[in-house]
Amino acid sequence: MKIQSTLSSYIAGFVLSVVFTLLAYFAVVNHVASGATVITIIIGLAVVQLIVQLLFFLHIGQESKPRWNLTFFLSTASIVFLIVVASLWIMNHLNYNMMPSASTNQQIFKNEGIRK
């Protein structure tokens, strides 16, 4: 999908971004769904808005070959994904395995099948 650096591309990008921002805002404010669902919705909307801004404002992937900007962006995105997901995974497991709170204690008893 070729998106030229034109007025219409900036207007389209702006309008779409505003729409996604407001959708996410009202999804939270109006409590349209429970915790985990609404978090998925707003993160999904953020990722879509990211792609919109990358395409319409930064024109990523529109350059002529070799597409070094795109290449570097994709490798950075992979590193970012790794840093965020792996940190959350590790810290979550760390919390579970060490010095648990009372609620985590109960979870552990349940998970490991320990009976007092």
């Binding site: 805002y25 953020a46 990211l50 404002f57 962006f73 950075t76 840093i83």
Partner: protein
């Protein structure tokens, strides 16, 4: 190779180099985001994100920054048309919107500090101020840069050197708006879920 092509190659190199810098900046922000997400529950008995964050306020900040990213795009279109007055106009508007954003952020920080909720209070606030503060620092530097380039445009006109620098600035500005999308989503929106 005649001079016109040489200039293009040099510009491409500096734009590519700046792009690589922006990618490393993104990695730094990712580390700050991961830190915030891990620590956001560590309030040490103090108020939580739900109690501290003003969502309508953050929405207005978001829309202001988004509009400034749009007007920056309009300014770059004007550089392609070699329209000096429009370039000055739209970068001027972008600058004012950036100042408005920064003013709002400063008032939010002041309010938090005044209530005793500074970065020294707990890990949650330390990571919040580091992440949002780093973004704000980037915006501040971007605004200084914008001011300097506005002066250069007024004094030298749209030379190829000035246009190259404006391209780099616009990349920087769009990038900051993209980071803010995630600050808004992960800190402010998720803070209230």
């Amino acid at each position: 190779m005649n001079n016109a092509i040489k200039i293009d190659v040099a510009e491409d190199k500096s734009i590519f180099g700046f792009w690589i810098y922006l990618m490393t900046d993104l990695i730094m922000f990712a580390a700050l985001f991961a830190t915030y997400t891990v620590l956001h529950g560590n309030t040490f008995g103090g108020p939580t994100s739900r109690e501290l964050f003003d969502l309508p306020f953050a929405l207005i900040e978001t829309l202001i920054l988004l509009t400034s990213s749009f007007t920056c795009g309009l300014a770059m279109l004007a550089t392609h048309r070699d329209d000096r007055n429009q370039v000055l106009l739209w970068f001027g508007v972008t600058f004012l919107l950036g100042i408005a954003f920064l003013g709002m952020e400063f008032s939010e920080f002041s309010r938090l500090f005044a209530d005793g909720n500074s970065f020294q209070k707990n890990a949650f606030l330390s990571s919040f101020f580091t992440l949002v503060g780093t973004h704000g620092l980037h915006i501040t530097i971007g605004l200084f840069w914008m001011l300097l380039l506005l002066i250069q445009i007024m004094r030298r006109g749209l030379t190829s050197s000035v246009m190259r620098k404006l391209t780099l600035l616009s990349l920087f500005w769009h990038f900051l708006d993209i980071v803010w999308i995630f600050i808004f989503t992960i800190i402010y929106l998720m803070g209230l879920v």
